[in-house]
Amino acid sequence: MHSNGHFLNDVAGFLGSYYTGLAIMNAVAAILLWQKHKQTGWAIVWAVTSGLMMGLCALAMSGSATMVPSLPQGVRSLVNTLSGPVNYTLGTTALFAILFVFRKFFVKPMVAWAVLNILLLLMGLSMADENFASIVMKPDNVPIVGLVFLLAFFTWLATSQAVVNDERIAQGLPPMEKLNDEKVLVWPDLVYTELICMVAVSAFLLVWAIFLQAPLEEPASSVKTPNPSKAPWYFLGLQEMLVYFDPWYAGVTLPSLVVVGLMALPYLDFNKKGNGYYSIEERKFSYLVYQFGFFELWITLIILGTFLRGPNWNFFGPFEYWTPYKVEVLNNIDLPQMFWVNLLDRPLPRAAAGASTLVQVGTILLREAPGLVVMGAYLLLLPPLLAVTVFRTFFAKMGFIRYMVMINLMLLMLSLPLKMVLRWTLNLKYIVSIPEFSLNF
């Protein structure tokens, strides 16, 4: 809110070393490409990039607050305006789809390198924004930023290997992993490398501990919760689900199902291919379902929860000030309400005071009938329907039980995005809402 020169002065030093790091990174890449891979063209490209980064570094360190390279205010405002839970979720889904469809393009090292450069550059430019920096540079958020890049790298690594393997398989060649399946020595190939990792990680942790000390926050209080109050970063995906589901479901049932589902995977998998080597083509279904569940429903929600959810769990754009006074409309309604009141224009069925338990339960069931019907259709009708249509081959190969387990897990997984869509489109709160038994869905 009150961006001023002092902030930019403080961050200038960091940005200077950041851009220097990027320059060195690109220079090393250029030298390697030039010397080792003899790709002079690319080498020149990255050398130039390196030079640009040095230029940015000079600007950042120039000592003048106005010279620090940053995103134009207009762009920041635009990003803030555009971002919201709907755009974010749909956007990441679209990005996921694009990355998947054009994976052959994106796994090219030079493309990936370019994407990395762009991402790092955007990040650097954004760091000149006080609001962005204050969130990203919070000591407990710094590792998450690192994790994001690590995750991207490993995903890229696996995908690029899978793409190579897929091409080889298409050409009738064995996958790369089959080429080198000789045995290796415990010493030095295993133990020595482990030792090196240990030493390196120790050094890294020491340096980290020196320069980025653990934040000390206020003593916990039962009368005052911090705003926003956030779960540990790895649970922020779960916390995001709380927006859409009853705490019991989002906090207990779904997480348990995730664990159960992950344990069940080996027993559900009937595809014998892809063992011991990376491949996408040979296990498209498994790959997509898993990556969707992991990236879309877990990682992106963690990022959302960490960086974009502010006070009162409101959504804030990356460059927006986290004001606790932001208010959003919360007029979500339950399905019975929609059905009885909005559609039929009559009050919700309500048992007379003092009615017998049976009558009361009956009334509740009547009230919740629409929701129960929808739920029933989703969980009971859909599986057989799918078994005879889309998943006919699956059903045949898996047998009834394995199929039912698989399809139910999948439907429950899909219930999250579905519920999100329903919330955004219909302001639907709960499909079934029986507060009498703390049972909401």
Partner: protein, 1507 residues
């Protein structure tokens, strides 16, 4: 075995990678250790260690100076002298004689004798010395041998005793084993034999012991002088040895240095975290209270360090810059030249010769800084105030950055005979400096020792942290914050909810334990104000009545006190006032009416209130038969006493009878903006606060506010109860002959006490703000037809208008003028005050009676707005149109006022309704007594724990935008053309601070405004409570900025704007922020002793009624530092021994101590002599002759009248002696604590002298004190508590000469008692009951037995024209002459004064009242005429005391009816024509011999006062 040597990874690469990572790990480990080694607190500790070593070394050097050496030499010389002195031959002979008693030593004795003889014969001093030494050596040897023999004997004795023990045991064992009697007998015989041995051995030992002791004693006698000299030399050196030992302990040594090395210091090095463990002072961590750990002294190590021998003076003061004048001899002494070589030692010596100090070769914080190392005690430098450790920053106007420059300047650039002006920087920076005021805080002898209290209980902050930022330091200005940010990486850690209090609010914490607040005012023990800002805040809150709306409840429950308690007292008195106007009251009978009256005037009394409550309950229960109105029944519950009732009165005047006082015009102008009429008013402003408004919001305000003002006036005037004015004195009945006169009235206002509380433009010297400013009072009174009558009434009898008013009845009775006319001073004052208008007139006042259509429209809208809060919209509109129908009379509340609206005067009814609603909305009843609002509750937020209010629960609204907007407008110009700023010099101590003085800022930031505004602005922008409070007090309504558009008119903020200035605002904030409702454990809560409590309670009452407006409650205190003997010699006076000052020898010794600057210290308590013409402190020359202001030639002295005995130069200076002439420099070098109160007395001092001069040109200035309100110092020991209590509640004239009378205040009985206890407590008197045997009849009988005609004789003295009756009234007898010389009535002394006091007073009045004109009538050494009373002075004194203390019984006993019958008729103004009194004046009636006829022999102007 591997199948192949080939590895998967290239081993070479692995090795390289491994070595690189290993090196990285090594470096990061080193980095870790380096970071640990460089933890900030370790650095501070190292520097502090150096600092301690440096100052210890400096002290050693200072001690080890030439004067020390001189003394050492002197002592050594005297030791040598003692050694050279002849031994007393007699003692030596005696010694030898003693030796000879032991035959074995006879030979040695002979040799000793020989030595003595040789010594006698020897004349060469050197030889003698040798011989003397030999002789002493020999004697010593003899004594040593005696000791040896004694030891031998003792050893033998021990052996024998052991043998005896064994033999005895053998015998007893034999008995136990039943051995034969023969054996038994032999055993016993053996034991007996041994016993005999023991006996012999014991005797031997004892003899040897006696011998040895006597030898030693004699020897000691022989060397006594020598020993004493040796001891004083050792003592002298001891001090230095101790300092040297301290230095050795502190100085770094090899072992310590090794342990402090990097890496090693991580393992139990000498630098370690210090912490205070405070298990009782817990820290609230939400889930549980945990013990507090304060580690602050890890870095702040100098916190509790004091100077050696002065436990309340910090060893390391905070940095300050001090100018010093170094005296310079008129010509160079021999051997001193202008040598300027850079040789350090040489110039050092020169400096010492010239000034008496050295420069240290190493600076404290900068090695080459010119730091003063040693200041030789009593040298010119020491006298000028230079201290070791001072850094010389400037010599004669030239900067001195390095030692050489300072050296050169000090030695070269001097003019002989002209002092050198230097500037030094004294003290050390944080965190090394000592805590300020070690007498109050941190010091081991202070009330808050560090070990018990720690740091964070007061300062807050994170005590466990050891780094600058995490300990939550709080910057006092934005600049400081940014400086910290740059130096320490500081940022506001908002996570810690108890951040350290910034310096400006550090006093807030005192409230945690000091719930009474007044205990933080200066006291005799701590004359320096302990918490001035906080106390000011407290008084402001009391004066402005914040508690009327914002309750500050100091009680969590009736058993638990949590903080200061500031709440309105229960409304008993208002309920009674309301009952008075109930038409049904007379029907309940006179007794009930009397109860009502009693509750009305003394609401704190319980009995009448309880009875009234019962009556009201009974009446309410009667249902339809009830005589009182339902409203009265409703109010009955207010008469019940709550468990912890509040104690404070509403600050505003009562508006219950307001119509009797002021009219519409004035009220309108007043309500619109009180400051328009009275700029100094405390009434806040409610209307016209529009700065923050715009558009629709502004329009609404402009439209509705005039209507609200009008409606409030309408309600107030309409509901005002009828008032009975006081009737003026009647011309016939009271004999008033003079018409009211403005000039006389002015005099009345001036001298009859008004100026003690009020200001008036005609008397600019009166500055008290206790009461309102009267400069325009006439304009106010003119607004109502009966205004003048009201004013007269008010002056005569304020309680009639408001029984609880603070305004006292000043008892204005008719006075006889010099021309014989009789005037009514009240009428005169009224006439004068009515003329005081400063030509102010209400302006822009709408018509009182008619509304314009627009106004009517607005009234309707306002009414509708209120009705909508009560009724649904449609119904509200309907009610507005037609009012409430009669059948809706069941409706309760203000809407009842609209019953029958249709049939009545519509405008009036609506205005009345809106008026009442507005008064309720604006909470006028928080300060004023308003009919119909007896049961309103406090309207604002309670403040008892506001200091901890969660800032997320505070509505900041858009106020920061408003403030920024406002400030930007104000600072608009500075952006376009920033003021040129001089570049701060690099060595400037404030350079880092100046660096933040903004020039480059392109827009407004907290740093670009002044530091106070910046501080609060920063807090406001960060949404912290300090910022909120600041703006709330500045412009409370501004929180509606851009919010008014989204609110209805009545939802807006209502707090009015108080006329605080910035300083007052901060004081109020300091108080409010201290309200945290977090009392620590009970043992830490300040619990005054009963005596102290009495003092505090009394102070509260005295403050409330402004007793100190007239009377001095505490005298001026001067802690002077004078050059020895500069106050003149003490006069020897012969006085009664019981009056001589009491000082212990220790006190006398202390007063002789000369400090480093060669001055002595003394505390003077009393009054500086005032100039009789100007009333300003008198200045005089060394002979006491007054000098003019402009006179620069004379050596200025200040005459001082002592009120407490003191010691000067080790001699007592008693009260009552001649005024002390204090040299001005002694005064200026010391500290002055101004008197508490007595302002009016000082103000009137020149006035009454001038008045008296017109009658009596020879008036003695000191006499004037006798006509003015007396200082009340010593009152507790002077008067009887019972009398004082009565006197306070109903004062009588004591001194006829006084120009103004003690007024009659509306004290509650307990308040008067508090004052009585106060006086007893401050004077250390017994209270509340005093028993004095002198008051007993039996003691009188005893006296009479010892001395017949004891009292009769005394009466003869009293009635002798040369003594008492010369000035004193006795009974009906009044001495003729100037009434200004009249002294108090003697016949009433017995009920007023304490016997001890009377006794002392007669002995020497000046010892009790230094300015009194009463002479010593019975001098100590010279009893008065023996024809009156035969006896010694003391007997006469006793007799007089006995007579005065038994005057009534004596008079009664001696009353003869005949005498009474013969008595002439009494004078008409005789107040009490009781027969006993009447009998006294005629001495013939009681005295066997007729007293000599009274003749007027006394000189005019001698007044004597006993009160």
């Amino acid at each position: 075995m591997p199948a192949t040597e080939q590895t998967w990874y290239n081993l070479k690469v692995l090795h390289v990678v491994f070595s690189v990572t290993a090196i990285l790990l090594l470096f990061s480990t080193i980095a870790m250790l380096a970071v640990d080694h460089n933890r900030p607190w370790k650095k501070y500790q190292r520097v502090f260690q150096a600092l301690e070593t440096w100052s210890a070394a400096a002290r050693v050097d200072e001690q080890d100076s030439s004067s020390f050496e001189a003394t050492s030499k002197e002592l050594a010389a005297s030791l040598a002298e003692a050694r050279r002195a002849d031994l007393d031959p007699a003692i030596a002979e005696a010694f030898l004689a003693q030796v000879r008693t032991v035959p074995a030593d006879a030979e040695a004795a002979d040799r000793g004798q020989l030595d003595i003889d040789m010594l006698r014969q020897q004349s060469d001093p050197a030889e003698r010395l040798v011989l003397r030494g030999d002789l002493l050596q020999r004697f010593g040897d003899i004594a040593g041998r005696a000791k040896f023999r004694e030891d031998l004997c003792a050893g033998h004795l021990k052996l024998c005793k052991a043998k005896l023990d064994k033999n005895r045991a053998d015998y007893e064992l034999g008995v136990a084993e039943n051995v034969t009697p023969e054996i038994l007998a032999s055993l016993l015989a053996v034991a007996d034999a041994t016993r005999a041995q023991v006996l012999t051995a014991t005797l031997d030992t004892q003899a040897a012991n006696t011998h040895r002791k006597s030898l030693e004693a004699t020897l000691k006698k022989l060397t006594a002088t020598e020993d004493t000299a040796a001891k004083s030399l050792a003592d002298h050196r001891q001090k230095l040895l101790l300092l040297a030992k301290t230095l050795k302990d502190r100085a770094p040594n090899f072992g310590k240095s090794v342990l402090e090395l990097p890496v090693l210091d991580a393992f139990n090095g000498p630098l370690r975290i210090d912490q205070l463990w405070l298990p009782q002072l817990t820290l609230n961590n939400n889930f549980r209270d945990v013990a507090r750990f304060d580690r602050c002294n890890t870095c702040h190590k100098g916190m509790d360090k004091s100077l050696p021998g002065a436990p309340t003076e910090g060893a390391y003061s905070q940095i300050e810059t001090i100018p010093i004048q170094l005296p310079m001899p008129t010509a160079p002494a021999a051997g001193q030249g202008g040598s300027t070589n850079d040789d350090n030692d040489g110039s050092s010596d020169q400096l010492e010769q010239l000034y008496g100090f050295h420069l240290s070769p190493h600076g404290l914080f900068r090695s080459d800084a010119p730091t003063v190392g040693v200041v030789v005690p009593e040298s010119p430098a020491a006298r000028a105030g230079l201290m070791s450790g001072d850094v010389i920053v400037d010599v004669g106007g030239e900067k001195t950055l390095v030692r050489t420059v300072a050296n050169t300047l000090l030695l070269e650039a001097i003019k002989w005979g002209k002092p050198v002006e230097i500037v030094v920087q004294r003290g050390v920076p944080q965190p090394y400096s000592s805590h300020p005021r070690l007498d109050l805080f941190v010091g081991s002898t202070s009330p808050h020792p560090m070990q018990t209290f720690g740091c964070t209980i007061c300062h807050q902050g994170q005590g466990s942290a050891t780094s600058f930022m995490w300990s939550s330091h709080s910057a006092n200005t934005p600049k400081q914050g940014h400086q910290w940010h740059d130096e320490h990486g500081w940022a506001n850690n908002h996570h810690w909810i108890y951040p350290m209090l910034p310096q400006r609010f550090e006093e807030s914490s005192c409230l945690k334990c000091h719930h009474q607040v007044v205990d933080l005012e200066p006291s005799p023990q701590f004359p320096e104000p302990p918490a001035p800002k906080l106390v000011e805040g407290y008084h402001l809150i009391r004066q402005y009545g914040c508690y009327g709306c914002h309750e500050i409840n100091g009680w969590a429950n009736p058993e638990k006190r949590i903080g200061p308690d500031m709440r309105l007292a229960p409304n008993y008195h208002e309920v009674a006032e309301s009952l008075v106007s109930d038409p049904g009251l007379p029907a309940l009978g006179n007794t009930v009416a009397r109860w009502v009256e009693e509750v009305r005037s003394s609401p704190d009394g319980k009995q009448a209130r309880q009875r009234l409550f019962d009556t009201l309950e009974r009446d309410a229960a009667a249902g339809p038969e009830a005589k009182l109105s339902p409203r009265s029944h409703q109010l009955a519950t207010l008469l019940k006493e709550p468990e912890t009732p509040g104690t404070l009165l509403k600050v505003g005047p009562s508006l219950r009878y307001v119509a009797s006082k002021v009219g519409f015009d004035w009220l309108y102008a007043w309500l619109r903006n009180p400051q328009d009429f009275r700029p100094s008013t405390k009434m806040p402003r409610f209307f016209g606060l529009w700065d923050h408004l715009s558009g629709k919001g502004l329009e609404e305000s402009k439209r509705y506010e005039p209507i609200e003002i009008r409606s409030m006036i309408h309600y107030l005037l309409g509901s005002s109860q009828p008032f009975q004015y006081v009737k003026p004195y009647d011309q016939q009945r009271d004999g008033i002959t003079a018409a009211p006169d403005i000039q006389r009235g002015k005099k009345v206002v001036q001298v009859r006490g008004c100026l003690a509380c009020h200001q008036h433009a005609d008397f600019p010297e009166a500055v008290s703000t206790h009461g309102p400013n009267l400069s325009r009072i006439g304009a106010k009174m003119a607004s109502a037809p009966d205004g003048p009558a009201w004013l007269y009434s008010w002056l005569r009898e304020p309680a009639r208008y408001h029984p609880r008013t603070l305004m006292p009845n000043v008892l204005l009775e008719p006075v006889v003028l010099p021309n014989g006319q009789v005037s009514d001073p009240a009428a005169d004052a009224t006439a004068y005050l009515l003329g005081s208008t400063e030509t102010w007139k209400p302006s822009d006042i709408p018509s009182a009676n008619s509304l314009t259509p627009a106004e009517r429209e607005a009234t309707n809208e306002l009414t509708l707005m209120y009705l909508k809060e009560r009724f649904p919209a449609v119904r509200a509109a309907e009610v507005l149109k037609n009012g409430l129908a009669a059948d809706q009379s069941a409706i309760q509340g203000d809407e009842r006022m609209l019953l029958g609206l249709a049939g009545s005067n519509r405008d009036a009814t609506l205005l009345n309704y809106v008026g009442k609603k507005t008064i309720a909305k604006l909470a006028c009843a928080g300060c004023h007594d308003i009919p119909g609002f007896e049961d309103t509750k406090a309207a604002g937020a309670a403040l008892a724990d506001w200091g901890r209010k969660e800032s997320s629960k505070i509505a900041f609204e858009q106020v920061s935008h408003f403030v920024m907007h406002q400030l930007e407008e104000k600072h608009g110009h500075s952006h376009t053309a920033p003021a040129p700023r001089a570049e701060p010099a690099a060595d400037e101590p404030l350079a880092p601070d100046l660096a933040y003085a903004s020039t480059a800022e392109t827009h407004l930031t907290p740093e670009s405004v002044d530091s106070d505004t910046g501080f609060f602005l920063e807090k406001l922008l960060a949404h912290e409570r300090e910022g909120f409070l600041w703006q709330k007090l500045r412009a409370p309504r501004s929180y509606d900025y851009k919010k008014a558009e989204n609110k209805t008119y009545n939802e807006r903020y209502r707090m009015p704007q108080f006329p605080f200035n910035a300083e007052e605002r901060e004081a109020v904030m300091t108080f409010v922020l201290g309200l945290v409702a977090e009392p620590p454990a009970p043992q830490f809560i300040h619990k005054p002793t009963p005596r102290e409590e009495a003092r505090l309670n009394g102070l509260v009452v005295a403050e409330k009624y402004n007793c100190s407006g007239c009377h001095s409650l505490q005298m001026d205190r001067w802690d002077i530092r004078y050059k020895p003997e500069s106050l003149g010699p003490a006069q020897a006076v012969a006085d009664y021994p019981f009056l001589s000052p009491h000082f212990t020898p220790l006190d006398a010794q202390k007063s002789l101590v000369i400090d480093r600057q060669g001055r002595r210290h003394a505390t003077l308590l009393g009054m500086p002599q005032l100039n009789p013409e100007t009333g300003k402190p008198q200045l005089a020359d060394e002979d006491g002759v007054p000098i003019e202001d402009g006179d620069t030639e004379a050596l200025v002295h200040r005459p001082f009248m002592l009120w407490q005995d003191t010691l000067i130069d080790g001699e007592a200076r008693p009260v009552g002696a001649q005024n002390l002439l204090v040299p001005d420099d002694a005064f200026r070098a010391g500290v002055h604590y101004p008197a508490r109160g007595g302002d009016l007395a000082r103000l009137l001092f020149p006035v009454v002298i001038a008045d008296e001069k017109q009658i009596n040109p020879n008036v003695k200035p000191d006499d004037a004190w006798g006509w003015l309100p007396p200082p009340l110092v010593g009152e507790g020991k002077k008067v009887q508590s019972g009398w004082l209590h009565k006197f306070l509640l109903n004062p009588q004239t004591i001194r006829p000469s006084a120009v103004l009378r003690m007024p009659k205040f509306n004290f509650q009985s307990h308040e008067a008692a508090s004052l009585v206890n106060y006086f007893a407590a401050v004077d250390g008197a017994e209270y509340p009951y005093v028993y004095d045997t002198r008051l007993d009849e039996s003691s009188l009988a005893e006296a009479e037995r010892l001395h017949p005609n004891h009292l009769e004789g005394a009466l003869k003295i009293v009635t002798n024209n040369n003594y008492c009756v010369k000035c004193h009234q006795v009974g009906g007898y009044a001495p003729p002459g100037n009434p200004k010389a009249l002294a108090p009535q003697l016949e009433r002394v017995h009920e007023r004064l304490q016997p001890d006091y009377v006794h002392g007073w007669i002995a020497n009045p000046k010892r009790f009242l230094p300015y009194t004109g009463m002479p010593v009538n019975i001098p100590f050494d010279k009893p008065v005429s023996q024809d009156l009373y035969v006896g010694s002075s003391e007997q006469q004194l006793d007799a007089l005391t006995d007579l005065l203390m038994h005057f009534d019984s004596f008079a009664k006993k001696n009353l003869s009816l005949e005498a009474y019958l013969k008595q002439q008729p009494l004078a008409p103004n005789q107040p009490s024509p009781a027969p006993p009194n009447a009998s006294v004046p005629d001495a013939a009636a009681v005295s066997p011999r007729p007293a000599p006829s009274t003749k007027d022999s006394r000189s005019p102007g001698v007044a004597t006062n006993l009160n």
